[in-house]
């Protein structure tokens, strides 16, 4: 995806050289928005909590530290769960799997979807061949189908990642195809065709760099979607199995006692919401900057 300049002549820096890579400058400009900074802080905070959490957790996930559904105490800061295990520790351990699944499925889905969208948008002949089957996939209710497969094949991490990615593919492909259609009609693509560059070169060198920023935004959206769906899977019992822990599972196991011990429900919800809001602020700011950059006339 990189578009590093191939020529680095020893030329003295021109007035132009501060512009550098346009996509990089979009990100840099985006960080001037306070909302983008807040988003970044939120996302990083949740990531740090999830990935460093296990090293700092006061207890293991299976250790019994008190009676079930105990309120917060000095030993269990967020109280205990339905079996008397420490909620905070289970929360700190339970983020890795859900974030890992969401991020992996988002990358996989955006990667495959973008590749299909690029090909479909650039090659009218096989456009239908690619897009119509994807619409069929989109026609199915994602969650129901994922539940069906996990019930059939067992709740395996790789299966969940694959299924969530599969349901990410159609919409990513559609967005990519639309942008590709636009870019492919520009003259610089025709110029590359005239010179005789192969299709692979045109797609990855000419088109892709021009749609990489919106794809980045799409990646963010897909991560949030992945979080929601993996949490939902755990919640319905088709994700990770006890005694392992994850934020969706925590919700499910403890929702019966919400009135007396709300922490095992509130804490993971807050984390998931924080993460989703962070990703949204971040990507929204980036796309807004992008629109602004696009509107600016060339000097």
């Amino acid at each position: 995806m990189s578009a590093t300049p191939t020529s680095m002549t020893s030329a003295a820096p021109t007035a132009a050289s501060e512009g550098r890579r346009p996509s990089a400058s979009v990100l840099r400009r985006a960080f001037r928005f306070p909302t983008v900074r807040v988003g970044l802080v939120l996302v990083l905070a949740v990531f740090l909590f999830a990935f460093l959490g296990p090293y700092f957790a006061p207890h293991t996930t299976t250790e019994f530290v008190g009676r079930p559904f105990q309120g917060p105490s000095s030993d269990a800061l967020l109280g205990t769960d339905q079996l008397g295990r420490d909620v905070l520790s289970r929360l700190m351990w339970g983020g890795r799997s859900i974030l890992w699944m969401a991020v992996a499925s988002a990358f996989l889905g955006v990667g495959v979807g973008a590749a299909l969208g690029l090909i479909a948008g650039y090659t009218p002949k096989i456009d239908n061949l690619i897009m119509r089957p994807l619409e069929v996939i989109q026609g199915f209710p994602a969650l129901v189908l994922i539940l069906l497969f996990t019930a059939l094949l067992g709740p395996k991490v790789w299966l969940i990642i694959l299924l969530v990615a599969l349901f990410n593919v159609p919409s990513v492909a559609r967005v990519t195809r639309g942008m590709t259609l636009d870019i492919a009609s520009r003259d610089f693509v025709a110029a590359a065709q005239v010179i005789g560059f192969p299709r692979r070169h045109i797609l990855y060198r000419e088109v892709l760099p021009n749609i990489s920023t919106p794809l980045f935004v799409e990646l963010g959206l897909r991560i949030t979607y992945g979080i929601a769906i993996t949490a939902a899977l755990s919640f319905t019992g088709n994700g990770l199995q006890p005694p392992s822990t994850d934020w969706g599972l925590l919700l499910n196991e403890n929702r019966t006692a919400m009135a007396i011990q709300p922490w095992p429900v509130i804490a993971p919800s807050v984390l998931i919401a924080t993460f989703a809001i962070g990703v949204t602020l971040l990507t929204e700011g980036v796309s807004r900057t992008m629109a602004r950059v696009d509107r600016e006339p060339g000097t």
Partner: protein, 603 residues
């Protein structure tokens, strides 16, 4: 006085207080059409919109007075302006497709104006006024026409609707901002004619903003030449064009091709300074051949003749010159052996046939111009030649061999020897690639040379088109339109072509930049013995660049021959009409009012 009187207008950027225009003052009498000319960035549009108290985002009018029929307007608040705008001062935009609401029928758009400014008018009166306005601009006034949406009428008709809308409320001043830029010559001639008639009939003062001096020559009474936000010369059109008394005007006039004479075009070196970067004193001094120490001080406004002023220290010292003294390009003799020929080409877009059995040949070292209005198929033909569109019938041969219809099927050497330059330099360069990469990657593909050699050739090519080698490190977004087009030319030249196909390559550029590109191609043609296929709608430009001309109409070749023959003694009616409609600088021809039947007009 009657008409409009502007004094000391200043518009500045909010960010740093830099002036976009400053010290601008002029008058437009009732019934008079005053042209404002200047290159992009000269502030001409800013002056036009300032008359409606509009500025682009981030700028505001900070000084000056605008008096309309004796009433001071600059003191008005936004509400006051709202009553003036459209009612007393009307505006005709450059791009009518962007100015009209695509979701409203024509009647609703016109009626909106009356509803806003004449709320008490009865609907019968409104209807009568709308129909009268349409008749005035020679459009049909039928219900069927009024029911149409903007996309259902042609570009020329849309511009007429904008004119009708502007004149609907019988304004006192009308500002026309390059209203014919997107139109082809025949349509332009009709629109200009309408403008002139309306201004005379309704005694409206008109300010006509354009970069096309030939249009000013045929339409306007007086002209204001703008440079870097100042009016540098003003006067009656014939005075200014025949004896320009400002060095900038003089240079500008030598950069313009003329329909009648094959002139050698001269580019003005350097660039117009941007707001905030303007040098003290005369802003043109850094590019001026006659500049001295004195030019770093503010130049005085010198009266050089009746109603003719020049903002230059040396205005009085400039010798009177006329454009008839300008350098004439010698006729070249070209051997008659075709290097590339497109024979019996018929091409379709979907089921629409756009080319009918067209044959065009170009010899080694020759420049053949393809001319015609938009939709005549000239770009399609060039795309067939380059292999972007496969013809239904006919074939393209190059150096004795038949070429594959698609570029992908052509041999590497063939792709290398025929190069194409696109119309718009804004879309032909990948914005995410550095200039170095843009020029080098074709070299890498077409020649078996190491990386370092690619870089060296790219440097050579970029210097050949007059840009510093450091440009290779910049991105298209850092460059101006003219610089980008030079990069596109460098990309083509780096491939060492035999034939260069140029598709309207100067239409997006200022005249002085156009002159630079044209003289560059001219030089390269001599040095490298290039063959050029030069697609253009600009007949005046053809006179300066082409050895032979092929005229296309509706996808058919209607006339072809040596440039001088075709332009001086056109045989085909269509060529005659094109020539008649092209405004020329040499003798500001008077356009006869064109009789158009409003019922059948389909411009």
């Amino acid at each position: 006085m009657n008409g409009v009187e502007v004094t000391d207008l200043r518009v500045e950027l909010d960010a740093n207080g830099a002036d976009i225009v400053d010290g601008v003052g002029f008058t437009v009498a009732v019934g008079e059409i005053v042209g404002v000319v200047g290159e992009s960035g000269s502030g001409k549009t800013t002056v036009g919109t300032a008359l409606l108290n509009g500025t682009r985002r981030g700028a505001q009018t900070t000084a000056g007075s605008i008096r309309l029929d004796g009433d001071e307007l600059s003191a008005l608040d936004e509400n006051g302006w709202r009553r003036v705008r459209g009612k007393k001062i009307a505006y005709v935009p450059q791009d009518p497709t962007a100015a009209l609401n695509p979701a409203l029928r024509l009647r609703s758009q016109l009626k909106e104006m009356l509803d806003t400014h004449e709320p008490h008018m009865s609907s019968e009166d409104q209807d009568e006024r709308i129909r009268a306005s349409l008749r005035e601009v020679k459009l049909p006034d039928t219900d069927e026409f009024l029911k149409r949406y903007p996309h259902q009428v042609s570009g020329g008709q849309l511009q007429r609707i904008c004119l009708a809308m502007a004149f609907l409320l019988r304004p006192r001043l009308i500002v026309l901002d390059e209203p014919t830029t997107g139109l082809d010559v025949t349509t332009q001639a009709h629109v200009l004619d309408t403008v002139r008639e309306l201004c005379a009939n309704h005694s409206v003062a008109a300010l006509y903003i354009t970069h096309d001096l030939a249009v000013v020559g045929t339409l306007c009474d007086r002209v204001l030449v703008m440079y870097a936000g100042r009016i540098v010369e003003s006067g009656v059109v014939s005075d200014v064009f025949d004896s320009p008394m400002h060095p900038y005007t003089r240079e500008l006039l030598t950069s313009i091709p003329d329909l009648k004479v094959p002139r050698v075009l001269h580019a003005i070196g350097g660039y117009a300074p941007r707001p905030g970067n303007r040098p003290p004193g005369c802003a043109f001094a850094p590019r001026c051949r006659m500049a001295t120490e004195l030019c770093t001080t503010d130049p005085p406004l010198v009266h050089v003749g009746p109603g003719h002023d020049s903002l230059c220290h040396y205005a009085k010292d400039l010798e009177a010159a006329t454009h008839r003294d300008w350098e004439i390009k010698p006729v070249r003799v070209v051997a008659e052996n075709a290097i590339l020929s497109a024979r019996n080409i018929s091409a379709f877009y979907g089921s629409t046939q756009v080319l009918h059995d067209v044959t065009v040949e170009v010899s080694r070292g020759e420049c053949v111009a393809l001319v015609g209005e938009s939709g005549s198929g000239k770009t399609t033909l060039s795309r067939v030649i380059i292999g972007l569109l496969a013809p239904r019938t006919g074939e393209v041969t190059f150096d004795g061999e038949t070429l594959s219809p698609k570029a992908g099927g052509r041999r590497r050497e063939q792709r290398q020897r025929i190069q194409y330059i696109f119309q718009s330099p804004y879309s032909s360069l990948n914005p995410r690639h550095s200039i170095g990469r843009i020029i080098e990657s074709p070299i890498g593909l077409l020649f078996d040379v190491p990386r370092a050699e690619c870089t060296r050739r790219a440097e050579e090519a970029i210097e050949m088109v007059g840009l510093p080698a450091a440009t290779l490190d910049s991105y298209p977004g850092d460059l101006s339109g003219g610089e980008r087009q030079r990069v596109a030319i460098a990309r083509a030249l780096a491939c060492e072509p035999t034939v260069l196909v140029c598709d309207e390559i100067t239409s997006a550029l200022d005249v002085s930049v156009q002159a630079g590109i044209v003289s560059l191609l001219d030089r390269l043609q001599k040095e490298l013995e290039l063959s050029l296929i030069f697609v253009t709608h600009n007949l005046a430009l053809v006179r300066s660049v082409a050895d032979r001309v092929a005229v296309l109409q509706d996808g058919r070749l209607v006339e072809a021959g040596a440039t001088a023959t075709v332009l001086d003694a056109p045989a085909h009616e269509y060529t005659k009409a094109l020539l008649n409609d092209t405004p020329t600088m040499t003798d500001a021809i008077d356009l006869d009012p064109v009789a158009i039947d409003p019922k059948t007009a389909t411009l």
